[in-house]
Subunit: 245 residues, 2 copies
DNA sequence: ACAAAAGTGTTATCTTTACACCCATGT
DNA sequence: ACATGGGTGTAAAGATAACACTTTTGT
């Protein structure tokens, strides 16, 4: 267990934060990257960060993504702002101090040190789609661990991070057909079956194999590549790749 | 012409702003409410404002709407955040001071007074749909006038307000079918023809009258009321109203 | 009676859905 | 040879588009 590391918050825009809902996909499960904070008590949180004074908000989100997954140029979508007047980490901080006596304010370290956390925070919500096989989850200074959780088994998180995750999922579901962004959850090359399973998992419904293939191909965004010989005793499926625009 | 009124900016969250794209509809034209600023030089801007420290961002947007249209409980949608690092009103301020010598900083009124305007601004974009027949456009302390402009004839505005308007229009077009919010542009009671003209104007395409009626009625969101006798020498159309949920 | 615009119903066309059939691959 | 899953084609069902016909209203 450690102290709250007090970074130089002067470098960041006050009252503003970025929360990232990072989606990955594996074994018919849609997953979200959630950190467990490095304190006594089970505190979970979305990967978050602040905005540098000279930093585009999109760049800030990319930086946070890079820090937590090691990935550059991730698919990112800024989907909503969470700005209730009472939105702050005060309640969380109280619980935290309660469970971690050494964080209790005293003469040497007065309550002032937590100002950044007790004041109102307006959070810009981003969701990211990453290839889970390439992402290398990476803890921050505040984290004990960081792990992928099935969307149905997300632990209770601090502040409104569960609500943010729910909103991100809604937007992802409506984006998946319109913006065709589900491909970002897969490696560069993939089979028809892999993309179908992603659609089925996210939309929580089944598709008829043959019709799904036609639907996807009619979008004219895929090019057919070589066949993928897996060693399975069945016909080798084709690999596909997104065409570059 | 007058000085920039220096309000008490301490009441607001620094670096954050709200810009509103207020849509109205009249005579087959989709219109946007744009203010002309009360200075020498043709400076136009979207209705904007800041967020009180104890104010929900949605409430702040509603307050700005109320100030500029006199309307309460307006249909509002927070559609995107504009947060480039170089997003500020510096360039506008330079032009403004150039055209308005009495605003030039001097010993008595140093440049400091404009701090609020020269620093980086993260803008939360909202679009609103209002009944143009009820809205009473109302100038702010900064405005010379405020008027409805056809979406195709919006003047050049300060900062990125033209871009914000373009993005709002895109979102409105994709929302209109999904969220069925176009009805908010009309009075409580309206005819089928009125709503059809709105759809045609916003989507810039024509619909076959009879099929449009079926499409709208099958949404099961309208109730048929009494007929509307206009004095025209044709069959009186029914009035409709959104059903309450 | 007639012109104008609203309301209703019917047919043709296109799209989506369901499924039968054939093909490639490894044991 | 056969079990497994991939690829192609086709027919039925459903949704959408086009349009003919009837009704209402004011002159």
């Amino acid at each position: 267990m450690k102290k709250i590391p007090i970074s130089n918050f002067d470098n960041y825009i006050p009252h503003n934060g970025i929360d990232c809902v990072i989606f990955g996909y594996e074994k018919k499960q849609l997953k979200v990257l959630v950190a467990k904070l490095n304190f006594e008590g089970d505190f979970y949180a979305l990967p978050s960060g602040f905005i540098g004074h000279g930093e585009d908000i999109d760049a800030a989100a990319q930086r946070i993504l890079k820090e937590r997954t090691g990935l550059n140029n991730v698919y990112l979508d800024q989907f909503r702002v969470f700005g209730k007047a009472n939105r702050n980490t005060k309640a969380f901080l109280d619980k935290l101090i309660d469970r971690n006596p050494d964080l209790r304010p005293n003469e040497q370290d007065p309550m002032d040190q937590y100002q950044w956390f007790t004041k109102r925070q307006i959070s810009i919500g981003y969701y990211a789609l990453v290839d889970i096989t390439v992402a290398k989850p990476n803890i921050s200074d505040y984290d004990q661990s960081i792990d992928w959780y099935d969307i149905h088994e997300i632990p209770e998180m601090i502040v409104d991070h569960n609500e943010i995750t729910g909103e991100a999922l809604k937007v992802l579901r409506s984006d998946i057909n319109e913006k065709l962004n589900a491909f970002n959850l897969l490696p560069e090359k993939f089979t028809m079956n892999e993309i179908q399973e992603i659609y089925e998992t996210i939309n929580e419904k089944t598709y008829i194999r043959t019709n799904f293939q036609k639907m996807i191909l009619e979008l004219n965004v895929l090019e057919r590549l070589e066949k993928k010989f897996t060693g399975a005793k069945n016909r080798a499926p084709f690999l596909y790749r997104m065409v570059q625009k």
